[in-house]
Symmetry: C2
Subunit: 319 residues, 2 copies
Amino acid sequence: MSHHTAGIDILVSEVGPRDGLQSIPSIMPTEAKKAWISAAADAGLREIEVGSFVPAKLLPQLADTAEIVAHAKTIPGLTVAVLVPNARGAEAAIAAGADKITLPLSVSETHSLANLRRTHEQVIDEAVSIAGLIRAQPANHRPHFEGSLSTVFGCTLEGAIPDAQIARLAAALMDAGCDEVGLSDTTGYADPSAVKRLITLVRNVVGDAALTGIHLHNTRGLGLANALAALEAGLTTLDSSLGGIGGCPFAPGASGNIVTEDLVFMLEAMGLRTGIDIERLLKVREIVSAALPDEDMYGFLPDAGLPLGFAPPKQMEYV
Amino acid sequence: MSHHTAGIDILVSEVGPRDGLQSIPSIMPTEAKKAWISAAADAGLREIEVGSFVPAKLLPQLADTAEIVAHAKTIPGLTVAVLVPNARGAEAAIAAGADKITLPLSVSETHSLANLRRTHEQVIDEAVSIAGLIRAQPANHRPHFEGSLSTVFGCTLEGAIPDAQIARLAAALMDAGCDEVGLSDTTGYADPSAVKRLITLVRNVVGDAALTGIHLHNTRGLGLANALAALEAGLTTLDSSLGGIGGCPFAPGASGNIVTEDLVFMLEAMGLRTGIDIERLLKVREIVSAALPDEDMYGFLPDAGLPLGFAPPKQMEYV
């Protein structure tokens, strides 16, 4: 969870510059990424996952992540998040000054080997090393450390993952020194019941305060219904991607993040404050589509527009 | 609500042959409509809105509704529903043998005048006449009569409609002799909070048993999230359209029914029994797309396919 959530009910964490850009063949110019991040922050986004510290030969789309972090760090009040696959990536993330570091751990070991080329035990060892690196920083320079349980709603290679395995890995991440864990529907297999069930399962292991966020895909159209289920279960951080770009390049057929524009519309319409100005958010699309002329952008709200006279109820309690 | 809901938790009411076909320029051949309805029933759908008794010059796409009703009535266990704009339409529906008659009443009077060319008072008068026609039938030939509150989540012409006006019109429909009322998000303005709020509002007026169904659009991407909210509020009948075709031709920019395939996937994944075989349902698309080569069909599940090893939990309680 972000450190900058004053005055908002739900933190929308924009993952487009990382999850979106890593999943498409086009490489966005560094200046366009900076313009995107600045415009998104201007529209009110408080947390942006700006890149990933992975070898440039694996993901050339994100080779400029250090420069992007440095730019994002100049924006007041923005939580600058990055993904890292291992301790080496975390070292670079800390050096660059990231506020939040996420290490994915695929609860499917088959997917873990395919995606991170590591067994569960090896990923947990990396988590231990990362926690050590963070503890070695001065107290006011320690990034928040999240372990993200990916393929937690099922894997395109293994199918369903046993609850006991998920619980064991959630506990192992916390024991390794993570500040919290997150849930990730890498494959778009989640449904609202499964979302609620797994939130309960993992919270019973790590405690309520150590599970606040979820990363959902819209692969089978249930993305916003799953987001609603997560809200109802008490989560307060939801990942999404502008224009819905991105997904997971190592889980075939699993593309499609939930669309930031549609998610923010749902939340604001429900009277949940995001701090985001929808009209300004819609304008951010122009920056992204101009810089990625060969990529499709998705979203229903951008096509349909806001309802006539739309004004979100102020601080209305969600019923 | 259908009379044929034994063994299922949620009734998915397919409205594609009516709402879908009335909203597109192509006219589907009568034989294709019959094949669609038969295949949908074979896949397990228990209620299908097969047409509308409106003048052929207004909706030539539905001019064969009497013949379609006659065909649908040969299918055992199927509730054959139709829409009517007035008592003349209801007379034709009764003569054809429809099991369920729905009269839309737009809670926005501006939209009512544009859509049905009638004031609220005139529509209520039609409801009184229709109830009289139904009462005059032998007891075992009386169709179920629903008054559908359309534009209830807001109107593209008027914006938000006052609660008191909605409550008054719901009561007036019941007083006129409707068996139940339904809610219809004609314009795609609904959000999950509004869904729950309006269900409570209308149930407080008509009683829980007289509001069981909702008609949602996916105009702004919230269709399935709104469906989830409706389920959680206790509704048991959800309208949807195969391939998401259709919407409201008289509410500009309001196209897009929720997609039957995606809805059924969500419900079954949640352990809610629909009685519908998803694999067979997906095959019904081939009939529709072959008969409507110029129309787009939507849906995420049809593109992504079922999750690996997908088997809905049996009679699992929704958490």
